[in-house]
């Protein structure tokens, strides 16, 4: 009869703490053996007044508010504040966080009657990155866009103008954009002047199907922003306070 003796050793320091064991499936054989935890238990989130069964939970984030959506037996969906207050975590997981503008970027539009108006603004990366591939995307978070416009004085309100923000890449002094802009409409009431603040956010895909020149290769110099508008009744300026722009990578 063969007898094989093997030792399994507890690390007493780990009595209260979980530690991942070896991945070799050999912690039995190599003598490592950890205590899982001092006690096994559960912490509940108390739904308190709700007697029905919870039929679903969708962890959600709205702006900076952290919530769960509880689906209950009675067919209601109830947004509740999850017991995870004051957490600030990203909606997206960017592959690379390129820049945080952190302040206001102003772009002024000037007009000579009806027609297109365009302003461009470039930001240079602190270190060059490769050009985006097809269908990679920028995730843009504009906390605020302030539009100052001038009405034409006629009766009735004016619908529009429509602004389009294009995000592109900046290379060799030129901005390269697709045709998939980020639209927003600033309603300019028919006053002598008016300021409108809107809070858009969105994602722009630099895809060939959206007109982006994805033959650009190699390193690029930075990000390019372009804002255009057509049919403004008399817009004098437009300023954009930009938040963070992420280069989020392949989806």
């Amino acid at each position: 009869m063969d007898v094989a003796g093997l030792n399994l050793k507890v690390n007493p320091a780990k009595l209260q703490e979980f530690e991942s064991p070896d991945t070799s499936n050999a912690f039995f054989y190599n003598g490592k053996y950890n205590i899982l935890g001092a006690r096994q238990g559960k912490t509940s989130f108390n739904t308190t007044a709700y007697d029905a069964r919870v039929m679903g939970v969708i962890p959600s984030r709205f702006g900076r508010a952290r919530q769960w959506i509880l689906a209950e037996t009675d067919g209601s969906f109830r947004p509740i504040t999850a017991p995870l207050a004051n957490l600030n975590f990203p909606t997206y997981t960017p592959l690379a966080h390129l820049m945080d503008f952190g302040g206001e970027v102003s772009m002024s539009l000037a007009y000579a009657g009806v027609g297109d108006a365009t302003a461009e603004w470039f930001s240079t990366f602190t270190s060059a990155i490769r050009a985006p591939m097809d269908n990679e995307l920028f995730i843009v978070d504009f906390p605020k866009i302030t539009v100052t416009g001038l009405g034409d004085g006629s009766s009735g309100g004016v619908v529009g103008p429509v602004f389009v923000i294009y995000i592109g890449i900046y290379k060799n002094g030129i901005g390269y954009y697709g045709n998939s802009g980020f639209n927003f409409v600033a309603a300019i009431p028919n006053a002598a002047s008016n300021t409108t603040v809107i809070n858009p956010s969105g994602t722009i895909y630099l895809s060939s199907s959206a007109g982006f020149d994805n033959t650009l290769t190699g390193l690029i110099d930075g990000l390019a922003l372009k804002i255009t508008t057509t049919w403004p009744p008399g817009l004098t300026s437009c300023s954009c306070a930009l938040g963070e722009i992420f280069y989020a990578g392949v989806i």
Binding site: V10, F45, V54
Partner: protein, 739 residues
Amino acid sequence: MATNLTGMATGVAADGVQRNNRAVVWNGRNRPRKYDGLYWRNLGIAPWQARITRIGLTTNVVTVTTASAHGLATSNNVNIFTVKDNDIFGGTFVVASVPTTTTFTYALTASNYTTVDAGGTVSIAPRVATTGSSGPSGTYYYWIVPANKTHPVYRNRVVCGLPSAHSLAVTVNNQGVAVSGIPSTHPDAQVTHWFLYRNKNGYITSNTDSDLQDWWKVAEIPIGTTTYTDVILDDALPPEVMDTHTNIPPTCKAGAVFAERLWQTGFDVYSTGTATVNSVTTTIDFSSATLPDGVVGCYFMKVDDDGFYQITERISTSKVCLDRPFVGTLSAASFNIFTDQSVVYFSEFNDFDAWGMDGQLFKNQLRVGGAGAAKSATAMIPLGNSLWIFTADSIYRAYVAGSMSDSRSLALTPTPVFDGVGCVGAKAWDSTDNEIYFLSQRGPMKFNGSSAPEPIGEKLGSTWLTGLNASQLSIAVVGFSPKMNTVKFSVPQGSDTENSLVYVYHRPSQTWWREEFVHPGFYFRDVDSSGRPALFYAQGAFVFEDDIGTSDGVPSGTITGTVTSTTTSTLTDSTASFYTTGTGLQERYVHIYNATTYALVGRRRITSNTGTVLTWDTTTSSTLGGGTLTLAAGQRYYIGPVLWWWKTKDYAIADQAKRSYEAHFQFQVETTPSSMWITQYHDNNSATAYNTFTCNTVHKKLGLDARNFSFALKLEGRQTNSDIGLQDLTMEHQVEKDK
């Protein structure tokens, strides 16, 4: 303030995704809804339809009566379908007159027809009228599109509905166009505006219905305004074109986000209630069922009947229209309503509110198994660059073959990528580290998307699965615990209608252990209060964080003490102050043990409590925490955790027979008397290794018999005096090979 959504189907499990600062939820019976932190909205804008109640023909003029205000105007386009004598009245027509808000007429050359009660639906495609004034030059068509400007969605995009019928052509020369006949209402309360579109530079394709023709946005017209004068020059048109792919989503049970689209499949079957044929055989009454919206497009079937019918309209919460007259008898008969679960629907690219082109319900779809070999999808799981679509016994792969934004690039393998193994339910999977863990009818599986699914549960045997029926399998859930690096497979036992058994798979060691006294209805992952990824589960009215050892699920109050009196369904501690806020200690377990030996007397799942009395359900099975239990005064109890002072990980046992161990315990202090209770778990069973372990020395040796154990062993222990402090545990393993 955040609002609640009510009025959805009751008693059905729901699911959803968080995406782009919106939550999208679905439950298999209602049209998916979205929530932006303030408002609930249906996805998409419903097509404009009204139910027909009467129809008749006199002197080549058809008069139609609708159940509600139809909102039509003269020269609007209407599509009449599934009406009584549809061969006569069905088709597309132009409204000739609108005598009242609930009647309209159209021209039809046919024999007179006495007005009768009629089921059926009129879908309304309002068409505006146009005349020239001053502005552009060329030939123009106009469309109007319903829109909800109040609640823009992702990318600040306005939610739009299907376009109307286009106007008749108007040709102008340096003139504008006066547009009239814009409907003053829309039946979908979400609609705030009509968006007006037209072609540019006087150019149109030969087929003006083509979605390849760009139609440029001219104006946004608030609901209530019925005219607009277009004087915008072509070059001044904003760069926004009309989208013709804005149909509404289906009602589905399983969903996933893949390729920047929302994918949906499955349906929650109605299996209760009775149905009756109305006087019109296309109309079905339900005497004991309340049907939510979203059943349009689903199928109606009498139980044990061969034929099934498509539902074309939900007239009320108790009445639907079928696509053709019901054949047979349907008096108080049981019924099913279901979707074709072999169909997988997907939204437009980057737009969960739009699901396909006009005039066709849910055009964006793929069929699992293809024509003639359809299979019902049970789960959809995104991994890598594929969406893996599971049936009960096979796995298909959806993928992007071209530009992601082009619906035509989406494809589904015509035959299974892997056959013979599938997923038992929509929630019976989770994924981590590019691996999918799912429960199949053959047991737990691991799948990485490239090689065949790998069974990981051979050691568990099969009896725990083979005894379960389809209904039980459908509620099985799987969840990955980031903290423990384990995957939990939870299923019912016996005839349980809740999950009552959890098999825990430890990924690094590839070993298993078993948990009971927990009943996850479903798992989900989020971050814990420290911001670390964690697994949560819902049980009853509560959401629990899994695998943590802090407050044990009891917010406050007494959690341990001595039993003072008892019945077979209650435990009383007259000195206790149990937590009673809200539903109190409901769903927590109470563990009762011998005060001297620490032998476990029993565990019960608390159904209600007062400040001093805990109650459990004696009619519920013991595996669900119920049943009678005989206790005695003087016994100790603990609420919340399974009361182990320490617990080892499980570890694999070498694949030989006849083994024994010696366990050497090293304690911090010597305490006399102190006893230790140890239970060893193996082969999904537990055994008492040593009942009372007298700790009268800082070192204690204990012999453990592991003969004929097959795969794993773990130890749990508690001592009467936690001060003795377990410092060290050494196990010596002896293997006796066969002689």
